[in-house]
């Protein structure tokens, strides 16, 4: 077993909703006195509220992180995943010492560099080179270190021609390149990276991911990486942590963590399938495996939607089904409008969409959004998720990799000479 680089113990972070402070100066003073002079815990802290944005809690104190415990071994690249509001950013903020935890502790072995944003502190009036020094110093490098790496940084950024130009004249792409180049050359045992790669062009993103991967493999550096890009997490990280409502939902290797997240993320079934005008009473995907939200590639499956319309009968019901891949991009749509099918709706309705005949999604996780016009637009996001597996070799004969896209279109290639 390797050495522990980061040890998180009973970590909680509390945010007060609404007003800041306890509300009155006297309670503020009492709290200050008890916490700082008597060294007690926050007396106004209530226990037991989790951070679930959908439900309104009865207290205005919310746990952004609650009782988190984990260890990270030195040299591991760990992906931290979770929905928006799951506490990822709060965790990174605490680890990078931007804010202090409310309860608990984090123990760290080694120098920490954190990248919650690229180009923090860049000053538009300063030249590229001056900003390298400034930004490097903000990130914790000494002047000597930066001078030693200056050429390498400029080279990596690819903005050599403009290093003596004020950065306010840079294009946003150049700006990001320069900023990331500085960050990529940080010398620290632990690197904390928030979703900073969301900016920049694809080529540069690949370069950055490559650099990060190289760093964690060759230099034995510990990396904590927060991202919504499951591919990046899979490629870069060895291990994964899934956060949900401020608590640890899963910890394991990267692949199984991504798997866990994708399976649980979209399956918040039932919770938001009700709307005052229309409510979905049943939503299933049926395939040869039954009603288990699992589909075999190239095989027929059916999407069944049962819903009730509050005001009863109506003309011209419109229903749209959007398929999204694991990263949330729409890959295909089905609707009765596209098919020119007119439906007259009753109070209770059942619609079955039969998906057949050779076209297939690549294996992986997908989710479905539903859209109704009755006649107001009602939208259900991530109403359902399902997984496509490919255990036979019906359609394509080789592995259908992610870079080939998400949908396989049946075809026949005719060769003539």
């Amino acid at each position: 077993m390797g050495k522990t680089a980061i040890k998180v113990e009973n970590l909680s972070k509390i945010y007060r909703l609404g007003e800041i402070g306890t509300g009155t100066v006297s309670r503020d003073l009492e709290r200050w006195f008890r916490m700082n002079v008597l060294n007690q815990d926050d007396p106004f802290l209530q226990i037991g509220q989790t951070n679930d944005r959908a439900t309104k809690g009865d207290s205005n104190v919310v746990y952004s992180l609650q009782d988190l415990n984990f260890d990270i071994q030195a040299g591991d690249a760990v992906g931290i995943i979770g929905k928006n509001g799951a506490g990822k950013s709060t965790l990174l903020k605490i680890l990078s010492r931007v804010t202090a935890p409310s309860v608990g502790s984090v123990k760290v072995k080694g120098r920490v560099a954190s990248l919650l944003e690229v180009g923090t502190g860049f000053h538009p009036e300063l030249t590229g080179k001056e900003n390298i020094y400034l930004n490097g110093a903000i990130l914790g490098m000494t002047k000597k270190e930066i001078t030693r790496k200056l050429d390498e940084i400029i080279d990596f950024s690819g903005v050599e021609r403009y290093v003596d130009t004020p950065v306010k004249r840079y294009s946003s792409g150049m700006y990001v390149r320069l900023a990331f180049a500085v960050a990529a050359h940080l010398e620290s045992e632990i690197l904390i990276v928030d979703e900073v790669l969301a900016v920049g062009d694809a080529e540069f993103q690949r370069k950055c991911l490559g650099k990060m991967g190289e760093v964690s493999k060759n230099e034995g550096r510990t990396i904590l990486f927060v991202s919504h890009n499951m591919n990046a997490v899979n490629n870069l990280c060895k291990k994964g942590i899934v956060l949900s409502n401020g608590t640890m939902a899963y910890q394991g290797n990267a692949e199984s963590s991504v798997h866990y997240y994708l399976n649980n993320n979209q399956n918040s079934k039932g919770a938001d399938l009700k709307h005052k005008e229309v409510s979905i009473t049943a939503l299933t995907i049926n395939s040869r495996f039954g009603d288990v939200n699992t589909v075999e590639a190239f095989e027929r499956f059916q999407l069944t939607i049962e819903f009730e319309i509050e005001k009863g009968e109506m003309q011209d019901l419109y229903l749209g089904v959007f398929f999204k891949d694991a990263y949330g991009s729409r890959i295909s749509s089905i609707s009765n409008w596209l098919n020119s099918q007119d439906f007259k709706a009753a109070k209770k309705n059942k619609i079955t969409v039969d998906l057949t005949h050779g076209v297939s999604f690549r294996e992986g996780n997908y989710s479905v959004d539903l859209e109704f016009f009755i006649p107001n637009k009602v939208y259900f996001e991530n109403a359902l998720s399902f997984e496509v597996i490919n255990s036979s070799t019906t359609g394509y004969k080789k592995e259908f990799k992610s870079e080939y896209g998400n949908v396989y279109v049946p075809n026949k290639i005719i060769h003539e000479v």
């Binding site: 945010y15 800041i20 923090t120 000053h123 009036e125 400034l134």
Partner: protein, 285 residues
């Protein structure tokens, strides 16, 4: 559990509470290059894209002095301790400006830099310190103006003399810097919660100037207010400054000692409050 904790020595422990006097001075030293960068940034960004550039450092004190000469000297006829009016006001303004800038600029540190502070850790104290140092550069430039005016008036036959107190000049500067910094730190820490304080600062500093011997000498202060004016820790500094370079004004070791004590108390209080606030201010600002 216990044994594994003790078997490894940690470089960094992040906890919800820290000791009141854990000022992280080592960290501060490690980030000294950053201090230099911030000073450079302030200086460069100040005069870039201005036509007159660093000349602006001169224009402000000259015009303020001229206005004071006109209003307080000629219209109100306030005594200047036998000194040329221009020199008297210029000396007061130069020193006061440094102190006032230290307060007003450090008092908005948390608010102005919330986005940097929210993204990356470095010892927060670096920023207010860099402000004090940047202002020092500006103060230095303005001192050149003051000294050349001194020489000019001396050659013109004015009765001015440099006294032994001039040796204390570095101490006076340090006192102004730390007093201004201390007050600024307290205010910036409080403004993270109570925003209204920031409105009070510019206004308060302005008022405080009239309670300091910038536009009148201590010797001509009315007897019933004299004690009050002497209680102002800035008064001994300005008076000593005048006495040091112009040979007029009141210099007393006791008053200077009093100022030093007040400065120490204010500065340490400021440091402690600032350190307490910096850990969580990101959540409240």
């Amino acid at each position: 559990m216990e044994s594994s904790n003790s078997s490894q020595d940690w470089d960094l422990v992040i906890e919800s509470k820290s000791s009141l006097f854990d000022l992280k001075l080592y960290d501060l030293w490690r980030y000294r290059d950053l201090l230099r960068m911030f000073v450079k940034r302030d200086f460069v960004s100040f005069y870039k894209q201005t036509i007159l550039g660093p000349l602006w450092f001169f224009i402000q004190p000259i015009f303020t002095t001229l206005v004071y000469v006109f209003v307080f000297g000629n219209l109100a006829g306030i005594s200047t301790d036998g000194l040329p009016q221009f020199l008297f006001y210029l000396s007061g303004i130069t020193a006061w400006n440094y102190f006032a800038d230290c307060i007003t600029k450090t008092s908005t540190v948390f608010k102005d830099n919330a986005n940097i502070f929210g993204k990356v850790y470095f010892p927060r104290l670096i920023l207010p310190l860099s402000i004090v140092v940047s202002n020092l550069v500006r103060f230095g430039v303005q001192l050149i103006l003051f000294f050349s005016m001194m020489v000019y008036f001396y050659l013109d036959g004015a009765d001015i003399q440099v006294t032994y107190v001039a040796l204390l000049f570095p101490v006076l500067v340090l006192l102004m810097a730390f007093l201004g910094l201390g007050i600024g730190l307290i205010i910036t820490a409080m403004t993270t919660k109570y925003r209204d304080l920031s409105f009070l600062v510019t206004f308060g500093v302005q008022l405080l100037m009239y309670a300091t011997t910038v536009i009148y000498p201590l010797s001509s202060a009315p007897e019933q207010y004299r004690g009050f004016i002497e209680m102002n820790p800035m008064t001994p500094i300005i008076e000593s400054f005048r006495y040091a370079f112009l040979g007029a004004g009141e210099f007393s070791w006791n008053n200077l000692l009093y100022t030093t004590l007040v400065t120490l108390v204010v500065f340490i209080l400021g440091l402690v409050i600032f350190n307490k606030t910096e850990r969580t201010f990101v959540d409240t600002i």
